[in-house]
């Protein structure tokens, strides 16, 4: 991709398909490596939610929350690469794209969250 070409201004975001997020932490460390963030800082913060179902069984959900330190991997995406967390997610459950495209994708997902960190 030609880096100097002017891109249409689109709102970009991350879709987390959290039906499949296993809580493996790869996304957090991928982000830290990419941006060399120190301990205590990161573009994602993984959170665990434990919910009791009506039949008393547990549902475990993990959700990586994009923080103010997420810049959607500007330099990578400018080069046509996917954001580091998207590429390395072991469950392939983080998607990057325009909000419009992601919202479309979201239609078919049982559990998903769309984030627009910047």
């Amino acid at each position: 991709m030609n880096a100097t070409a002017k891109k249409p201004v689109k709102r970009m975001g991350l879709l987390i398909d959290y039906e499949y997020c296993t809580g493996c932490h790869s996304c957090e460390i991928a982000c830290k490596q990419e941006h060399n963030y120190p301990v205590g800082r990161g573009g994602l913060k993984l959170t665990e939610f434990l919910t009791e179902r009506p039949d008393k069984s547990l549902r475990i959900d993990y959700l990586p929350f994009p923080t103010m330190y997420c810049n959607l991997c500007k330099s990578r995406t400018n080069d046509g690469e996917s954001p580091s967390c998207v590429k390395h997610c072991q469950a392939s459950c983080i998607h990057y794209g325009s909000v419009k495209k992601l919202a479309e994708l979201m239609e078919s997902r049982p559990h998903a969250a769309l984030f627009t960190p910047i």
């Binding site: 296993t22 830290k32 490596q33 475990i60 997610c89 072991q90």
Partner: protein
């Protein structure tokens, strides 16, 4: 190195660094001789660019200020922490000299060669041990070698090969391969996918997620409510150590309800009637009382598994830890055999290393081929444990860990004088009863530790410490799974040398005839012969896979029908009868029960009710954690941040009457000792069980005696005995089943 500019090199990741068993492809960026980044390789078929946290934190591992960077010798008393830097020449001269002295005075068998968990370690350690002339290669400290070996031994005896669930791993196209089918049901038995964050041998954890996305339903068998359990169609919350009883009851249902694959059973199995008779003893009701899984759920799981076509089954290390591990795994093997799920798309596929290439000769037959019958006959005579356990004698070349320890203590029937300890941190991790190991090893004449960081073990027992390289500091080949990956040395850190280089050079000094190659690469090229590639060619392309129907018989499917499994080229399996042996003739020959059975753990509510009364909780340890590989990575900042404290997990309702709140320091006490942990309360735990992660030590604290980085405060293996291995010799480390009680520590004791 030291050239300017940046380059990206593709290679496999294995062992030191992420620490793991897996076969990922990575792309490392090298700038001015330094590794600046480690990313996944999106063109690699194993994980398509995905990667675990430990590989993603590789730069912090490689350039950690605490990395061992040059050889050292001990200049104070053992444990005093006084070390002097020495040259490689002096280090290897000392090793050669001391080891020659031991060999001349007592015989080569008096030196034990201990490794930690497998990975590529077996290769270079066998290589050194055999060149030196010692048969005593062992997984030092782990009772019954209770990791992977029991299941390999069991499956090899029962069906001549071992299987893994089919995630299309043998095809470069993976899930798009038209022959592949997603299993309708995948049984995930004692595996913690998310926690392990990969680390599996042969089967990467997240392949299960890939299959779920393709419609696969899960049956999860786990005492803890894992993420997978919470997503499962059916979750059986089993009591640890009772997997055999559950498997037998499932067999009971499948056989008595006629749900088995009659054609497969008739054509390809041996001993169905005997098995049918045996499983009558294990009704779902009886198994429910043993396993704590309600009978209806056992029946449901059996029906669901047996009526799904195809169905896969993967299982984890806890089964190797069953009291009679090799019998438990026999029972599981019967499950996928009588349902006809062997070597079919989406079933359990027979797994052989691609092209038949192994990095080292790990089967007894290969050892004979390489070193000659006579040499091997002598090795078997002196190998510790081989005379007492026929299965140990006839499967792999391990000396049996429990008996090695005993012999170190008694010095009988022949003396043990030295330990070569490589990739093994037994004081913090590998060994059960680590104090007994400490006392035994500190009395030996000469101990060498090879590692990447200073560890409690190195501090406590080493006379010489050799600094090993991480994977990008090493030329090696990944062979325990698909594809075959090249690993190549692209950086130099301090004076570190790869484990292969270290052992190669020392082996050459000790026995030049046994090392006819000029260097490690030449040896790798020889091992790679069947691929038609040299090491350099493989490194250039990074990985390779055997094509379908390759004559090595290393690619599925239905190889038993095609005559691709047996050395004689006949259809069938590589067993005495040519069939899958539900009734195992080798077990019978070795004096073991030829049919599967359940035996209670050494301590349990049923086997020791008097202990259960005083110690009313079951302690599970050894569960995986994505931040750490066993005892590694506690000093890596990004990883330690994910899991900063040595914790003990407990159900809030169990904690409340004990007055234990989240974050409290508690004692975990068993019959044999007690350790201190920090409580984490979570409803994912069973109310009568706790979980304490293994491998904890605190690199930030004092490493000298007696603290040894806090290991005696934290190491839960102090609650677990040695010498209680399975009847077959393989299996039985009671890492999931010891009984304990938990109570708050008094304020003045509350460090950690």
């Amino acid at each position: 190195m030291g050239e300017m500019g940046e380059r990206v090199v593709r290679m496999g990741a294995w062992s030191a660094g992420p620490g793991c068993h897996g076969g990922c492809g990575v792309k490392v960026t090298i700038k001015d001789g330094k590794l600046t980044k480690c990313e996944g390789d999106e063109d690699h078929p194993y994980l398509q660019g995905r990667l675990c946290p430990r590989a993603l934190a590789l730069t912090q591992y490689i350039y950690h200020p605490d990395r061992l960077q040059y050889p050292m010798k001990r200049v104070g008393a053992r444990g005093e922490g006084k070390w002097a830097r020495i040259s490689w020449d002096e280090a290897l001269d000392t090793c050669e000299d001391k080891m020659r002295t031991i060999r001349d005075k007592y015989g080569p068998e008096s030196m034990v060669f201990g490794q930690g968990t497998g990975r590529d370690a077996g290769g270079y350690i066998i290589f050194l041990a055999y060149a030196y002339g010692s048969p005593n290669w062992t997984l030092f400290g782990l009772s019954g070698i209770s990791c992977f070996t029991p299941r390999l031994a069991a499956m090899s005896m029962v069906m001549g090969d071992f299987t893994f669930p089919d995630a299309a791993q043998f095809s470069p196209q993976r899930y798009d391969d038209p022959e592949w089918k997603a299993p309708e049901v995948l049984v995930s038995w004692a595996r913690n996918l998310a926690g392990s964050g990969c680390t599996d041998h042969y089967f990467s954890g997240h392949w299960a997620v890939d299959m779920m996305k393709r419609g696969t339903k899960l049956i999860v068998i786990d005492p803890v409510c894992s993420w997978e359990a919470s997503r499962a169609e059916l979750w059986l919350q089993i009591r640890p150590g009772t997997d055999g009883a559950l498997a037998l009851a499932m067999l009971n249902v499948i056989i008595n309800e006629n749900l088995y694959d009659k054609e497969f059973v008739t054509k390809w199995t041996h001993g169905f009637e005997e098995l049918k008779q045996r499983v009558q003893e294990y009704t779902p009701e009886k198994a429910a009382a043993i396993t704590w899984v309600p009978a209806e759920k056992i029946v449901k799981a059996a029906r669901m598994y047996a009526t799904a076509k195809p169905a896969g089954m993967r299982f984890g290390q806890p089964l190797d830890s069953n009291r009679e591990a090799t019998s438990t795994i026999h029972a599981l093997n019967c499950l996928w055999a009588i349902t006809g799920n062997i070597d079919i798309p989406g079933g359990n596929v027979i797994t052989r290393p691609p092209f038949g290439v192994t990095i080292y000769p790990y089967s007894t037959q290969e050892v004979i081929d390489l070193y000659g019958e006579e040499f091997v006959a002598n090795l078997t005579k002196k190998r510790i444990g081989a005379d007492r356990f026929p299965l140990v004698k006839n499967f792999r070349a391990w000396a049996l860990s429990d008996m090695v320890l005993e012999q170190m203590e008694t010095q009988k029937p022949y003396p043990i004088k030295g330990l070569w300890c490589q990739t093994n941190n037994f004081l913090a991790n590998t060994a059960q009863d680590p104090k007994r190991h400490y006392e035994a090893v500190r009395k030996l004449e000469f101990n060498v530790v090879v590692d990447t960081f200073m560890t409690p073990t190195a501090q406590a027992i080493a006379d010489i410490i050799l600094p090993a390289g991480s994977f990008p500091e090493k030329d090696s080949v990944f062979t325990t799974g698909v594809p075959i990956n090249a690993i190549q040395k692209v950086i130099q850190v301090g004076e570190c040398r790869s484990d292969w280089e270290i052992n190669f050079e020392l082996a050459k000094r000790l026995n030049p005839q046994a090392v006819p190659w000029a260097n490690v690469r030449e040896l790798m090229t020889l091992r790679l012969k069947a691929t038609g590639l040299t090491f350099e060619q493989l490194a250039e392309q990074s990985w390779t896979m055997a094509p379908k129907n390759h004559k090595s018989g290393t690619v599925p499917y239905r190889r038993h029908e095609k005559g691709q499994l047996r050395p004689d080229g006949q259809p069938g399996f590589r067993t005495n009868t040519g069939k899958v042996e539900l009734y195992c003739t080798n077990y019978e020959k070795y004096g073991l029960d030829p049919l599967p059975y359940h035996r209670e753990p050494i301590e349990s509510p049923l086997s020791t009710p008097e202990i259960w009364e005083k110690y009313p909780l079951i302690m599970i340890t050894g569960r995986r954690n994505s931040a750490f590989f066993h005892s590694e990575h506690r000093q890596i900042p990004w990883l330690r941040e994910l899991s900063p404290f040595p914790e003990m997990e407990m159900h809030p309702e169990t904690a409340a009457p004990l007055g234990i709140k989240d974050g409290d320091m508690v004692w975990i006490e068993g019959v044999r000792g007690k350790v201190k942990r920090r409580a984490r309360l979570t409803p994912t735990m069973h109310r009568q069980m706790i979980h304490a992660l293994h491998g904890w030590w605190l690199p930030e604290t004092d490493g000298t005696s007696p603290n040894f980085y806090g290991v005696w405060d934290l190491n839960v293996n102090q609650l677990i005995p040695m010498g209680e291995q399975s009847t077959s010799g393989f299996g039985g480390a009671a890492t999931k089943t010891m009984l304990c009680k938990v109570y708050k520590v008094k304020d003045e004791e509350a460090t950690v």
